[in-house]
Structure formats: structure tokens, C-alpha cells
């Protein structure tokens, strides 16, 4: 295991920054480039890098398979649920205006929720796909 010392230390050093960048892309998507989709892929990329370096079992400790697979439908539920919330408040489906007193603030909140849903689904799907492929190879 001494041969891949550089890989192991390098991965450990770089992982928090990848996650931080993913969060930045997620929460700064309203101001700069990015959003839920890109952040989800970057988060999944972090897990995949961890799995490639430290093995599938270690990766499943930090991102359990059951959780990852539940995230796949959960994100769509968050997205569609935000739309239903608009319906329940007496407006159109996916109209975020009524979520707050000021329609503009409601839209910001709606965009935030929707992007969170996209993040959950995309990161969950990409990680679950990688798990499914990696397991199959053994």
C-alpha cells in the first residue's frame, strides 16, 4: 500500500475542497454559473474519487448505498413537491410566487428548493450508477 501513498494523501487533501466547490456551485448558482445539476455531479465525483482511491467499501461508509439510492427519488419528490406547494396555496403548478409574502422572495425560495431537489437526485443517481457498475465488476 506504500506505492499509492501520493494518491491517498493527495485524495485526502483534495476531497474537502471538491465538496466545498460543489457547495459553492450549488449556493452561488443564483449569482454565478452553476446550479443543482453541476453541484450534484461534482459531489458524485468526490465520492467516485474516494471510491477509486480507497475502495468501494470505504466509499460506502461515507455514502451508504441505501441512502444514495433513496436520494434518487427523493430529489424528484422535493422538486415536484415544491410545485404542489404552489398548487395548495392556490396558484399554478411550479409557481413559486405564493411561497413568501413578496412574490420575488417566494421565487428565490422556490428556486432554492428546486435546485436542492436537482442536487439530491443528480448526486444520488451518479453515485448509485457508479456503485452499480463497480459492484458488478467483482
Amino acid at each position: 500500500m506504500s506505492l499509492d501513498l501520493i494518491l491517498r494523501i493527495g485524495t485526502k487533501l483534495i476531497l474537502p475542497f471538491i465538496l466545498l466547490f460543489a457547495l459553492y456551485v450549488q449556493f452561488h448558482g443564483e449569482y454565478g454559473p452553476g446550479g443543482g445539476f453541476q453541484a450534484g455531479v461534482i459531489t458524485a465525483g468526490m465520492v467516485i474519487l474516494f471510491a477509486i482511491t480507497f475502495g468501494l467499501r470505504a466509499a460506502k461508509r461515507i455514502a451508504p448505498q441505501a441512502l444514495v439510492e433513496r436520494m434518487v427519488p427523493l430529489g424528484v419528490l422535493i422538486f415536484a413537491g415544491t410545485g404542489v406547494l404552489g398548487l395548495l396555496l392556490g396558484h399554478n403548478y411550479l409557481d413559486y410566487g405564493p411561497l413568501a409574502h413578496d412574490p420575488a422572495h417566494g421565487r428565490v425560495l422556490g428556486i432554492f428548493l428546486v435546485e436542492a431537489g436537482v442536487l439530491v437526485t443528480v448526486s444520488g443517481t451518479m453515485t448509485a450508477l457508479f456503485y452499480a457498475f463497480a459492484e458488478r465488476g467483482r
Binding site: 424528484v76 421565487r107 428546486v114 431537489g117 450508477l129
Partner: protein, 165 residues
């Protein structure tokens, strides 16, 4: 040039995705460039390599001729290039795509949503249905692949148990 090693093909497609991301940056489409770099060059390459891990890594030799595929490729390429002559000049403000709803988004997005990045407000708010559809596509694709790969494994195991008992 002929590349029979699928490993090389996967790496080349990753390189192509990165080049496309650079092209998209030149076109000022930073959001799309970011998606292309992370999905096209990152996750797709990893998943394709994982697929190669499950299958053979060299392309099977085809017994059919190459003339028909070449003909189809040349005709399709020629038709695409021919159709670009009808496109409006590159970057012009008079293009139909800039005249429909784009001005409304650009003028009213900041006031209606207070989100400075118009791409985000169009994706998540004005075109929320599209994004919901995209998310559902990813959900469906993920569920499908998981059912195929993991379902087959369970069946293998069940067959093993039945065979051994």
C-alpha cells in the same frame, strides 16, 4: 486512422468533451460549459470506463462493409453543413431566438425573481417544467440502470442458491 482499443475511444471522447467545454466558454455559455466539463468529461468517462471493466476492451471486428456507413455519414454531414447556410449570422441580435421570449427574461428576471443569474431563473423558474422533466429523466435513467445491473445480480444469486441446494 482506426482505433480498435475502446479504452482509447473513451479517453478521446473525454478529450472531446473538454474541447467542447472550451468552445462553450468562448460562446459565453459558462453554465453549459461547466455541465459539459463535469458530466461529459468527468462522470461519463468514469461510467464508460466502468462499463469497459464489465465488457471487452477491444472493438469486435465487423464483417459488413464500410461503404454504407461512410455514405450515411457523408450525406448527413453535408446536409447539416448545407443547412447552416440558412442560419442567421453568428451573434446577431436579429436572430429569431433573441426575439421571442429572451428579451422578456432579460428585462424582467431581476425584478420578478431577484436572481442576478438569468440562466438560473430561466432554468428553475420560467422553464421549471423543463427542468422537472430533466430531473425525471435522470431519475428514470438511474432507476433503469440500477434495475438492470442489480436485478441481474440478485437473479444470479438466487440461481446459485437454487443450484447448490
Amino acid at each position: 486512422m482506426r482505433q480498435r482499443s475502446l479504452f482509447g475511444v473513451v479517453i478521446l471522447s473525454g478529450v472531446y468533451s473538454f474541447l467542447m467545454a472550451s468552445v462553450l466558454i468562448v460562446l459565453d455559455a459558462v453554465d453549459v460549459a461547466m455541465t459539459e466539463a463535469s458530466v461529459g468529461a468527468g462522470v461519463s468517462t468514469v461510467l464508460l470506463l466502468a462499463t469497459l471493466h464489465l465488457t471487452k476492451t477491444t472493438e469486435a471486428t465487423s464483417f459488413r462493409g464500410t461503404m454504407i456507413p461512410l455514405f450515411v455519414a457523408v450525406v448527413t454531414g453535408a446536409a447539416l453543413i448545407w443547412s447552416t447556410f440558412d442560419l442567421p449570422p453568428f451573434g446577431t441580435a436579429e436572430a429569431p431566438i433573441h426575439k421571442h421570449v429572451a428579451p422578456y427574461y432579460l428585462e424582467n428576471s431581476l425584478r420578478e425573481t431577484t436572481v442576478p443569474n438569468v440562466v438560473t431563473s430561466v432554468l428553475a423558474d420560467y422553464r421549471g417544467y423543463d427542468t422537472l422533466g430533466e430531473t425525471t429523466v435522470i431519475f428514470t435513467a438511474g432507476i433503469g440502470v440500477m434495475l438492470l445491473l442489480r436485478g441481474a445480480r440478485r437473479r444470479d444469486r438466487a440461481a446459485d442458491v437454487e443450484g447448490s441446494s
